[in-house]
């Protein structure tokens, strides 16, 4: 059982790797085949329902970095099981739907691979017990969703939506990393299952505020809470199957999951409840208003997703058995109906060529199955009896039905929010499907079966679950709430338990009435809201653009400052830093003191003595000096380069004389080649023959050169003044032949004792070669100037 849990998270990745191949060879059935993976995962996870409903939990761990006690651990309890079941169940239907929706697309294989990888990341996220694993999967969902949203990468709007989602959610991801590490440092635990047994360790800590802020930032960015909600509608640039998956059951629910998961550790404090209810409430209303403002059905759904996320955050913030049960019920109900509705909108778009709600009507006759699925989904969205969402609504009203002003305020927010969501649902059900048939770009007909299975099953599931509410409440809501609240919660919902005359049911009726009212005034509300939005003139979206554009301009300015392209300045900086690196230790760390004692008391006779050298050694030094002098006096660059070669050759001779033939050998070759290559560079660059710089430039460069030279000389003197540590040399001399079977110690060191260094070096040599070639080639093809086009915004009415 242990490893198979990890397989749940890894399986989709394996399927993703194979997806392009499977798509190529089993073209019309690829979706059905690939859907077997999530379907199998769904069925496998179903087998956990019973033990977990009986209070068991399952944990599996694989060693990750054993030296630090870090394990890759997975954990199944009521909460993760609910999420994992939703993800894999909805995911299986989405895969079938996507293969049909994008049929004939030349990148369908790639798309399915992205989708499955995303699913794997999401499953890993909800199953991870280890906080670092959670973070890893969290970031993986960001990256895979980036690929999915930007799938249609030829379109600028698509790229922008993808980048925006990535930037916003990754900022949250970084906050999550900080939060995760802080949590580990404060508690010494990586596992969330262990954390929640520790009770008040974090809540009571002085840094509680910081940890909370980190986790909230992560959850709010991912779950698109106001004012960071704007990336979600832009993410609608993705193909519709992506939206159906990301914005119903997965990506955006990750933040909700995180909040639920951290409730036992961070939650149930005043500040937690206040922040979550305020942000959640504002997001709920804001999303509803946003939805009513739109006429594009996909945008309407996106905005209602924001609203629903706000609702879930609000409920988690409220805490307590009723609110948490409501949150779990609503999460499942929302995932079912929202995925179905996105798929329906995709099907309508696919078959009629438009998603504009004002342009569509009377489709019910042409697309009867789609209409029935819509009706089922909208039943949930409105929260009518016979739907799971009905119970969710009852529970949340019960949770806040108290005679105090704060709960009452929340109650008002909830009623208004639910009513507006109901209005949007009615709009999508009635406007496009009933009434007279209106002309559309394509002549409408029923979608293919693969695109009908999903909405029908998901819409139906909401109703079936409500009919089996006893079971659902006991097996899913109870264990889920137990996991969130960390105390035993019994599922208590039954049809028989509803008192049809209680004030809460009356509130439901009020909600429906308000919803119908909002529906009838739909076009008027849209006009008013649009006028309001136009009056403000800017949105969080435009602020984002301004910030991004400013960032790019700032980066360009910094680059121009540092990367100005003037070689002499680069070299000047390099050599000045080199001189500093030499002199700071010499002066600051007392390196020179090693030299001073021998020059004591003005007795320089010992120091300034003529070195005891043989005549040919003097000859070599003379040769080097001639080379140097020639370099400095050379009037012609070519001559100077060759003169530098003389000096190098003299150095090679010195190596040879003092017993380093290998070094001398190499030095000779390097000198020859560098003279040749420098000469070639010279002719390529078409420099002036002679170096004609003003005197002050020469003086400046000469000074830098002198300082560097002095630094090197002094450093060498300091090094030589101490006793030479010969341990290493002796070791090599003693072991070279017996161990490495080589008499040439230099070569033995290079290829044997320090082989991995050499390996790195030859890789660097090759990398440098590639870089040089790239430079030489770019010289041939002049680089086009970088044009900074203003970011174009999609025209919105």
């Amino acid at each position: 059982m242990d490893a198979t849990i990890a397989l749940v998270a890894i399986g989709p990745f394996a399927a993703a790797a194979l997806a392009p191949l499977i798509n190529r060879y089993t073209k019309p059935f690829a979706g059905w085949l690939l859907a077997l993976v999530p379907a199998a995962i769904f069925l496998y996870l179903l087998s956990f329902l019973d033990p977990i409903a009986h209070g068991e939990t399952v944990r599996a761990a694989i060693d990750w970095v054993p030296a630090y006690g870090l394990e890759l651990s997975f954990f199944i309890d009521g909460l993760s099981l609910t999420f994992a079941l939703t993800i894999s169940g909805v995911g299986a239907l989405i895969v079938i739907y996507a293969a049909s929706y994008l049929k004939g697309h030349h990148h369908l294989g790639r798309f399915l691979a992205f989708l499955l990888a995303f699913m794997g990341a999401m499953l890993g996220l909800v199953l991870a017990d280890n906080l670092l694993a959670l973070f890893m999967f969290w970031e993986l969902t960001s990256i895979t969703s980036f690929l999915l949203i930007g799938f249609d990468h030829a379109r600028q709007a698509s790229r922008r939506g993808a980048i925006q989602a990535l930037v916003i959610t990754n900022m949250g991801g970084l906050a999550l990393l900080v939060g995760v590490v802080l949590t580990q440092v404060l508690t010494g635990e990586w596992d969330m299952s262990a954390l929640r047994e520790m009770d008040d360790v974090l809540r009571g800590h002085a840094l509680y505020g910081l940890v909370l802020a980190c986790f909230l930032a992560a959850a709010f960015t991912k779950s698109a809470q106001f004012p960071l909600h704007f990336w979600l509608p832009n993410a609608m640039e993705a193909p519709t199957p992506v939206s159906a998956f990301l914005h119903s059951a997965t990506m955006v629910q990750a933040g909700v999951y995180l909040l639920a998961r951290m409730t036992p550790v961070l939650g149930e404090t005043n500040i937690w409840a206040t922040l979550l209810t305020i942000f959640g409430g504002v997001t709920l209303i804001w999303g509803c208003l946003g939805a009513l403002r739109q006429s594009d059905m996909k945008q309407m759904l996106a905005q209602t997703t924001i609203a629903s996320l706000g609702l879930l955050v609000l409920l988690i913030g409220l805490g307590g058995e009723l609110a948490i049960s409501a949150a779990l019920l609503y999460f499942v109900a929302h995932a079912l109906y929202k995925a179905a509705m996105f798929m329906i909108v995709g099907a309508v778009d696919h078959e009629t060529g438009t998603r504009e709600i004002t342009a569509l009507s009377g489709l019910a006759d042409k697309m009867p199955v789609t209409f029935i699925s819509t009706a089922l989904a909208v039943l949930s969205m409105v929260g009518l009896p016979l739907s799971l969402a009905f119970f969710a609504k009852e529970e949340m009203y019960y949770a806040v039905f108290k005679p105090e002003w704060q709960p009452l305020l929340i109650l008002v927010v909830l009623v208004v929010g639910n009513a507006l969501l109901a209005a949007v649902g009615l709009l999508i059900l009635i406007k496009p499907f009933l009434g007279e048939l209106s002309p559309t770009p394509k002549s409408p007909h029923e979608a293919p079966i693969a695109m009908l299975v999903g909405p029908l099953l998901l819409g139906g599931a909401g109703v079936v679950a409500s009919l089996l509410i006893d079971w659902f409440s006991h097996d899913i809501v109870g264990p889920g709430a137990t996991a969130i609240l960390n105390e035993p919660v019994e599922g208590h919902l039954t049809w028989g338990g509803i008192n049809w005359l209680s004030p809460v049911v009356v509130l439901s009726a009020l909600t429906w009435l308000l919803g119908i009212l909002a529906y009838t005034q739909g076009s008027r509300i849209r006009t008013v809201l649009r006028r309001g939005a136009n009056a403000v003139g800017w949105t969080a979206d435009t602020v984002f653009d301004a910030v991004m554009f400013g960032l790019i301009r700032f980066a360009a300015d910094v680059t121009r400052l540092l990367h100005h392209g003037r070689l002499e300045l680069y070299l000047g900086v390099v050599f000045i830093m080199f001189a500093l690196a030499l002199f700071v230790p010499l002066l600051g760390l007392g390196g020179l003191n090693a030299l001073l004692p021998i020059a004591e008391l003005g007795d320089w006779s010992n120091v300034l003595r003529w070195p005891d050298l043989r005549s040919y050694e003097w000859g070599v030094i003379l040769l080097a000096a001639i080379g140097l002098l020639a370099v400095m006096l050379a009037g012609n660059r070519l001559f100077a380069i060759i003169a530098l070669g003389i000096q190098g050759a003299a150095l090679a001779l010195i190596f040879l004389l003092f017993g380093a033939p290998d070094l001398a050998f190499t030095q000779f070759m390097v000198e020859v080649l560098s003279v040749v290559i420098l000469t070639l560079v010279m002719t390529r660059l078409r420099l002036d023959e002679a170096d004609k710089r003003p005197l002050e430039d020469l003086a400046r460069d000469g000074t830098i050169a002198l300082v560097c030279g002095l630094g090197v000389t002094l450093t060498l003197m300091v090094v030589l003044s101490g006793p030479l540590d010969l341990r290493l040399s002796e070791f090599y001399a003693a072991t070279s032949v017996p161990i490495a079977h080589g008499a040439n110690i230099v070569n033995v060191i290079l290829v044997d004792y320090r082989g991995i260094d050499t390996l790195g070096e030859i890789a660097v040599v090759m990398g440098a070669g590639v870089a040089i070639l790239a430079l030489l080639r770019s010289r041939k093809r002049p680089i086009a100037p970088i044009i900074r086009a203003p970011l174009r915004r999609k025209a919105k009415s």
């Binding site: 033939p661 290998d662 050998f665 190499t666 070759m669 390097v670 020859v672 080649l673 040749v676 290559i677 070639l680 560079v681 390529r684 490495a740 079977h741 080589g742 008499a743 040439n744 230099v746 070569n747 033995v748 290079l750 290829v751 044997d752 082989g755 991995i756 050499t758 390996l759 030859i762 890789a763 040599v765 090759m766 440098a768 070669g769 590639v770 040089i772 070639l773 030489l776 080639r777 041939k780």
Partner: protein
């Protein structure tokens, strides 16, 4: 530099230098020499060849792109290090094999192949850079 004498002499010169470079490479483990210096010597042969006969001629003679040769070298070096993993020792641990061919014993070892990798990496990179610099504007780099 395109004199008749130089052009006539170059093939002999290049051959001798190349043979010498292999000699330097193979003696490296016991005498001064080795892959790095051998590669440099071979690269200088290519430079001379290029000066005498033009870059396209050298590329034709080499058959492979010099950078590909460099990459090949790095790959050989890595592979020679990986061999030791099969004996259960750490990466790059040397393995020695003494081949008895009649009276002479030829020692073969993974460091030798590693050194050959170094030879190709250096030879390929330096030749590639030198040839690119020698190439005329019109010539394909």
């Amino acid at each position: 530099m395109n004199s008749l004498i130089f052009r006539t002499l170059t093939p002999f010169l290049v051959t001798i230098i190349l043979v010498f470079s292999v000699y330097v490479l193979l003696r490296g483990h016991n005498e001064p020499g080795g892959g790095f210096i051998g590669g440099l010597i071979a690269a200088s042969a290519m430079t001379i060849f290029g000066m005498a006969s033009g870059v396209s001629e050298v590329r034709r003679a080499l058959r492979f792109d010099p950078l590909a040769i460099a990459g090949f070298g790095v790959c050989i070096a890595v592979l020679s290090g990986l061999a030791s993993l099969f004996t259960g020792s750490p990466f790059l641990t040397s393995i020695w094999l003494y081949l008895e061919l009649g009276d002479t014993v030829v020692p073969l070892s993974t460091p030798l192949f590693f050194d050959i990798g170094v030879y190709f990496a250096v030879f390929g990179t330096i030749s590639s850079v030198a040839l690119s610099l020698e190439a005329d504007e019109s010539e394909e780099l």
